[in-house]
Amino acid sequence: MSNGGGSYNAQNDSRAGSTGEPDIGTEPTGGFFSADYKKHDDLKQMLDSNKDNLKLEAMKRIVGMVAKGKDASDLFAAVVKNVVSKNIEVKKLVYVYLVRYAEEQQDLALLSIATFQRALKDPNQLIRASALRVLSSIRVPVIVPIMMLALKDSVVDMSPYVRKTAAHAIPKLYSLDPEQKDQLIQVIEKLLADKTTLVVGSAVMAFEELCPDRIDLIHKNYRKLCNLLVDVEEWGQVVIINMLTRYARTQFLDPNQQDAVADDDKNFYGDEDEKDSEEEEDDDEKEKTPPKKPYMMDPDHRLLLRNTKPLLQSRNAAVVMAVAQLYHHIAPKSEVGLVAKALVRLLRSHREIQHVVLSNVATLTTIRKGMFEPYLKSFFVRPSDPIHVRTLKLEILTNLATETSISTILREFQTYVTSSDKDFVAATIQAIGRCASSISEVTETCLNGLVGLLSNRNEYVVAESVVVIKKLLQMQPDSHSEIIQHMAKLADSITVPMARASILWMVGEYSDRVPKIAPDLLRKMAKNFINEEDIVKLQILNLAAKLCITNPKQTKLLCQYVLNLAKYDQNYDIRDRARFIRQLVSPAGEKGALGKHAKKIFLASKPAPVLDSSFKDRDQWQLGSLSHMINQRASGYSPLPDYPETAPDPTVRNVEVNPWEQVPMPWAEKTHKKKAGKPKKEAFYSDEEEESESESDSEESSSSSSESGSESESDDDSKSESGSDKEKKSDEEPESSSSSSSESESSSESESESESESEPDTKPQKKTPPPKTKSSAKPKKEAKQEVSLLDLDVIDMSSTSAPVPAPASALDVLSPSLASDLQGLSINDKKDTAISVTTPMFVSTTSHELLHRMTGEGLAANYRFTRGTCIYSTSMVPVEVTFTNHTDSPVCNIRIGDKKLQAGMTLQEFPEIPSLPGGGSMSVSIGIDFKDTIQPANFQICTQDRKYNVSIKPPVGELFQAVTMSEADFTAQQSKLTGMNENSGKVSIPSQHNNSKTITARMSELANVAPVSSSQDGLYRFAGKTVSGGTLLLVTVKVGEDNSANITVNCELMAICSMLVKEVKQKLSQA
């Protein structure tokens, strides 16, 4: 308990709070409930003191008053001063107070504004965020302009947490001043484009509160939202799903408009695994050709359904419900069924959740009966259920009743009838009645059962049965005269008015079936008329009138008698009725005009009542909504729009502007991973983005690399390269902040694992045709790039592979995940800008010593950099290690032992060599992710009995991969990497070496870079990118006239830049 914990209860126990706290308790507070003015004086004194703990104690008491709903507004002036307090807890509590009372004391509240404005500039994101939160929560209209400014600053804040807070501030500002709507919508638009999972949920929330009709803002973000959905926090998921449901209703065609087609759909997509691949093919086709008849589902529609499905497994009931309603409202009929299981699961949850879920299920069962049939037993009522849950369960059981299940249900109902809760029994009997009326096979059985209940000892049961039987008989009165007889007899014993009334009505209606009993019954009733309830009296009158018409001989007098009694009844309804009937059946004078038609009026055949589910009309509401729950329109409810007749243009969702910014591509995650290598200070920010995109796509891309072979993998790289370029541009904007590695590493753990597991398999499958159907415009160029990348085999690295033209049928052999790549591709056709990894120009054969044979007691190890693509991971530098056994006896179990790596580095070990024979040698390859530094990788080489510490230090040139790019790209990229990212030097080249061939050769020897074509003489360009981070490296060598050369290196990694300049200088100046 914190200090002062007692003061909450202090009201009843004056010094409860003080006893434990000598420090504070000794203050002459006199308790917190002496006279009001005095008490507050105390608190004011404490607030004015300069001791933090006194202030804290005072604030705690004040918050206690706020919590209890007591008025503490007169302390405002004293409290607001403390907003500048250094003590964070005092500050927090002052905030709480401010938010509560600022509205009432607007002038004084303004005193605090300056503090918040200062805090908005604080370097600590938590303080910025909380300042914005409080500032926006103070409902003082005067400060709207200040809030607006603060808000605009905050939406471009570096910290996603602050941006999230900004999103929350939007509705607050709107409720304060609706005039600002237009400006706020602009802010929302900006936030919607945010890629951070933390932000999008809140951004959509603001969108929903402010401008749910501005569907056009969603178009561009639709795919991103779908893809991010899994990683958004649960509350955001609910809001996004609800919004997307509405979006889908306006943008896509009704998937059920042609049932036959929908059925096809089902088979087509029946299998989950197939589904992805096949429908993504469609994706592609349909992207180009607008949907035509027969109905084809829009790929974006499918994307939504697919990405929401895993959320059915959420632990959050609201998310599950949101997905369920999404499926109910926009999925093809055949697919809605899969939500049933998840909904049934929720029934194990808290009672309130059960209640809400059950009422939604009840609606669903009126429309989609089959969906819940397998779970029938889950709806069986337990005695421990609260009454509202029981009623709902009964409702559902009734709705679910079919010919096959009715016997089970009826057996179950029989036990419910014996329950001690009378309301429940009554509800059960009504349910039986409904089953009987809806399933004609069992009507007879039910009727017999109900008649059986008539002999029940409990009067309520009997009464309810009578009422239900009456309804049933009305539907088929022909064959049941004995039941009517039986019931007429019951009239003697039964006392429940409703039941008596029912019996009387029935006897009157079917008096021809019981001609003897009816008059007798009337006689009995007439005797006791004055003691009956009103409702029964009315029915006696009715009975009398009907009998009087059909059987005047026996009953005329009785009828008169009853009418006379009724004439003086206290209830005017009854007097009215009597007067009315009298005119009809026994007109005083001449037979009135009405009298002729009395028979028609009284004995007209009445339509049988329809026993329908009370949930039938609830399907007009969106499932899961509050309006559905209360079955009336809640304020702020907007009904789901109907599907459009023709699909609106699907291309609005295409994102042309800058695909990498907006739509997470399958390779986007790689982009981010590459980026992760860059120097980083502000660790947190961007990994959120990373995570979100990478996780949602990781599966796809990792499987893509495994299934489609190495090609797609390296292809990814090339894409990511250009992707990261775009990123760089965005890095300049504050909102997409610099990236981090330490965090990102953990973020990508899911992929890293799956990838590294799958990637080794990619090695053998080399020649899957390039799946570039989209790029048919330039098949050749692409093929060239891609094919050359296939060579994982380090030995024939330098051999050129012939271009393999993309087969026309590529589409047919697409693997599922590749297809998803294609989907992304279609968005960006600008292949020219692609920067792709190419084969190294030069592979060094010189190897470096890792373990000398003397140190290694006969075992020697050398390593060399093979400059290929590492088979373990694309971010690793492949290293070939050759072990040679210089002894005569075999060395066993050669493996890598403990690794002492720099933070961030990773080393992929080689499989253990079981035994290396004497004199033999063997090469293995390992992969090291140096994280783009030249820090040595230290590790141990172990044999069965010894361990040797060794280390590999990479030359700076080996940290790169050669890439090809066009000259235009080169200059474009170079222009972005100026200032700190540029490093240059001057060197004189020996004249005999001043030719393009040598310079190129030397450069490639030095570093794994590829030449870029140059239109200028004496200007040599080389491009590469770092293996781990994917950072672009550009080298320009400009040879002047006097054999002097200017060397310029552009790279974001400054250390690398300067090192490389030094080395290039050295290399080129060699004689």
Binding site: E103, V230, H388, E412, T415
Partner: protein
């Protein structure tokens, strides 16, 4: 979304209120009290109440009504789920979420509510994050705070809030690294008078207590994952991995949490471990009560902590019974009979028999009360679910690491089967 929250105790006192937007007068709760009057028991109050201007959505837990006031359309489950999360957090912080705990810690409660909801929309609900923002109270910290004047609040944003693993706090260090998994299965069943099963169902959960340093990445695999029919996961579980390989791969939150809850396919026959032979009869003025419990399909395991409860009809005045084992109590106000049986000895079956006395003059009840049974069976998962292995990849070194963390955690899996909603109709 959520406008205000009122906490109302069983006496009908509004003992705490919190407003996230402008203040709503507590008189709005009168509508709630009206509904409450109508209900027979606290549980029977309809959770969603519509009033002319507000919508009241409440939950009832720990003998407190948590009434949320909404003014506009909002998914009711959203609110209900959130309220439950609030109570869970209280329980997590204070050990229980009852009225006393809330009152004793009202400052923390207020700070929590402030942090969990912003303008009515949830902000931080993950317990690990909240605990970093607002330290849970404990005696040591109270002493330290009093002496040093430091506070419970942290002034930096917990990294988890921004990281990709929002449920785990960073920089976790333990000297003893341990991971315990409790596979707990509950049998829900309805048994009819004849002893045959009307409905039986197995629901299970895996509760974990994971105290591991760093960022461990765990993989839990089952011998027979196919028997899991429907599952719901903690957000940390990688869904795709489950889909494709049927293993649970996750970076666990720190401390106690529920990893998954599952439902076992109904096609599997459920082994009912106990049977109850009830023989209850009423006649004018009294009746006989005779109940025997015995083990049925227990797979050789001992059935423990057997408790039998029976809500007798209102007309029962008293019961005079003799148990052969354990103790029984009869609450004459609530009319609930509780028989604490303990372990079942198969050789000598526990039995409880005796007389029932009814209120004089009232007719004997026409139906017999249902009996609900509680029991536990240690070291058995009734569905047959078996954990195959637990692997750990330490994440101390960065991505693509295949190194194991330096420490070797202590791992343990416990199985427990117990009765969920196990009812015998008589």
């Amino acid at each position: 979304m959520i406008h205000s929250l009122f906490m109302i105790n069983s006496a009908g006192d509004i003992f705490m209120e919190k407003h996230w937007k402008s203040v709503i007068s507590r008189s709005v709760c009168d509508y709630f009290f009206e509904e409450q009057q109508k209900a027979n028991s606290p549980e029977d109050v309809n959770p969603v109440i519509s009033t002319p201007h507000h919508y009241l959505i409440h939950i009832y837990r720990e003998n407190i009504y948590f009434v949320a006031v909404c003014t506009t359309e909002v998914p009711p489950l959203f609110v209900i789920e959130f309220l439950h999360r609030v109570v869970d957090t209280f329980t997590d912080y204070f050990g229980d979420g009852g009225e006393t705990a809330i009152k004793d810690n009202y400052v923390i409660v207020y700070e929590l509510l402030e942090e969990m909801l912003d303008n009515g929309f949830p902000l931080a609900t993950e317990s690990n994050i909240l605990k970093e923002l607002i330290k849970p109270p404990n005696i040591l910290r109270t002493v330290v705070n009093t002496v040093t004047g430091s506070s419970n609040l942290s002034d930096t944003l917990p990294t988890g809030q921004l990281s990709n693993v929002p449920w785990r706090r960073a920089g976790v260090k333990y000297t003893n690294n341990e991971a315990y998994f409790d596979v707990i299965e509950e049998i829900d069943a309805i048994i009819d008078k004849q002893g045959s099963t009307v409905f039986a169902d197995i629901q299970g959960v895996i509760d974990c207590c994971v105290k591991l340093s760093g960022m461990p990445d765990l993989t839990l695999s089952f011998m027979n994952p196919r028997i899991l029919d429907d599952v719901s996961f903690h957000p940390c579980v990688r869904f795709k991995r489950w889909e494709s390989e049927r293993v649970l791969s996750f970076v666990p939150p720190d401390g106690n949490f529920r990893l998954i809850s599952y439902h076992v396919g109904s096609q599997n026959m459920v082994a009912i471990p106990v049977y109850v032979k009830p023989n209850i009869s009423f006649r004018e003025g009294g009746g006989r009560f005779d109940v025997t419990v015995g083990p049925k399909q227990t797979m050789g395991k001992l059935v423990e902590s057997v408790v039998i409860t029976c809500a007798m009809p209102k007309v029962v005045l008293n019961m005079n019974l003799t148990p052969t084992q354990g103790t029984y109590t009869f609450d004459p106000v609530a009319k609930v009979l509780t028989w604490d049986v303990g372990k079942i000895n198969p050789q000598k079956l526990p039995n409880l028999r005796g007389n029932i006395s009814l209120q004089s003059g009232s007719p004997p009840p026409e139906s017999n009360p249902a009996i609900s049974v509680q029991f536990k069976i240690q070291q058995m998962a009734v569905s047959g679910l078996k954990v195959n292995r637990l692997d750990m990849y330490g994440e101390s070194s960065p991505k693509k690491s295949f190194t194991f963390e330096k420490y070797k955690p202590f791992k343990g899996v416990k199985y427990l089967t117990k009765a969920g909603n196990f009812q015998v109709r008589t």
